[in-house]
Amino acid sequence: MQANQIYRVESECVTRYYVWDSVVRVSHWINVIAVGVLIFTGFYISTPFYRPTADEPFGATVMATMKNLHFLFAVIFTLNGLFRAYWFFAGNTYRQWFRFHIWKADFWKEAWWKLKDYITLRYTDYELHTLGHNTLATLTYVIVFLAASVQGLTGFAMAGKINPGGFFDTLFGWVIPLFGGEANVRMIHKMIMWGIIGFMIHHISFVIYLEVFREKGMLSSMITGLKTRPLGWEPVEKPWEKKEK
């Protein structure tokens, strides 16, 4: 299978693996821009910190512009997310969905082992698929994906209410009674935003660390698609089954 083939480039001192295809990379940077704009405009909507100096509202449209931008980038973010969900199934081996076997004991064993591995500051490389994501990371991304979905549902539900009975309201209006009113919908929308900010803090600092101090090519892989491992590195199968020394 073409899509599952592993591309490997060996240079003098490291091995590079082609992990992220161009679709993944482009959609990742679209996400970065969209989430950035969404957080900024969302903050403004929540706590308007800038006020036009006019005496009358004629011509000034700061809040309206922020809301329009928020909506525009929400649509971009959502379409991008939907495409990415499809790519879970269609993308290359590293992206693929079939690694997400929550019903298997091995999945949880691996996640638990990896958590201990992180906490004890080891950063072990093991199976080949972890060039993409290890199980713990997969779990995190799925949670982030779900959070983003709830964010989209609550967002579009609020947006739809500007035109009750209209397109967005018909599709997403049911979300509001589900949370017992729009006040709660807003509160949840905001909490998830903070959740996403928390994820971003961790995500960004880690990829920088792994790029600079561990030379795994984490950050640059989102530009070049290539991840780095030391020369002569061999994948290890199921390291959590071996006794730790």
Partner: protein, 364 residues
Amino acid sequence: MQVQETFYEEVRRKGISRRDFLRFCLLTTAYLGLESTMFSKVVRALESKPRPPIYWLNFAACTCCTESLIRSSHPLISDVILSMISLDYMETIQVAAGHQAEEIVWEGMKKNFGNYILAVEGSVPTKDNGVYCTVGGMTALEYIKKASRGAKAIISVGSCSSFGCVTTAHPNPTGCKPIYKIITDKPVVNIPGCPPIAEVIVGTIVHLITFDTLPELDALKRPKVFYGQRIHDKCYRRAFFDAGMFVEKFDDEGARKGWCLYKVGCRGPVTYNACSVVKWNEGTSFPIQSGHPCLGCSEPDYWDNRPLYQHVADVPLPGFATADEIGKGFAIGVAVATGAHLVASIVKKATQKVKEEKKEQKEE
């Protein structure tokens, strides 16, 4: 058997002119959002259909809904309302009292079994078998169950009986519940508001009489015509909202100039009601027009969406903190944990390197 009077006969007997009656019909047709061609249908229905008896029941509530109704300064509306309900049963203003009053209710309900309308004000305590509210020797719980048996429809008037208001607020010591959670086998319409607008209550009743059906309801059982839009989307201060011009504190310059009240906690953007359209007291004004933010009084559990004067409610976790406080706490927590982890990783690697170098030196 005594023939039921029509609504028209009744208001005429009360001394209301035909002209006023027609004005009332026109107003109500407009409030209900019906086409003007429906005007004649409303008139004909009120002239010819026997007026269904309406029993107004008071349970755990503050009676502000009754106040809203009988103090509605619109002479027409208040007269009309009184002729609609007072005759049958309404504790606050009825003449009869005690056993006599109770007899009238149960007699009437028996006679009109299947035809009468219940208007319920207040929620129903359910804890300890509902002993926290008793009417005529019965708990409110027994009362509503018995009274609803022959009811054609139940109108939950006000936030208490619609969603729960002060009476169901956390921690809800008496286990109060809104009506639709207790009576599930009858059509229930919610008219939330603390209090609801008189015109909205009347409009719903007129719809029921005219078309023999409840008006179209939304997912929370509210009539769509009155609760279909947010206060915010019909608010006359919306231009200031869109511009980004906000009152920062009460009595500042923006407040004097009538800017948007969002930053002093306006809940207009999350509140579904007709205040900014129908307004209050003969269409004189409504809270936002008099410079006060909307408190969201017609939203489910609005006392628990606390605190007031803050447009996003606090997170209902123990201790109640704002979403921003919790969010910031979370983000800082993540930042500190990540930072500590990474610094530890860097230090570990550096010391390992030093050790390895020393080893190499020794071996040499």
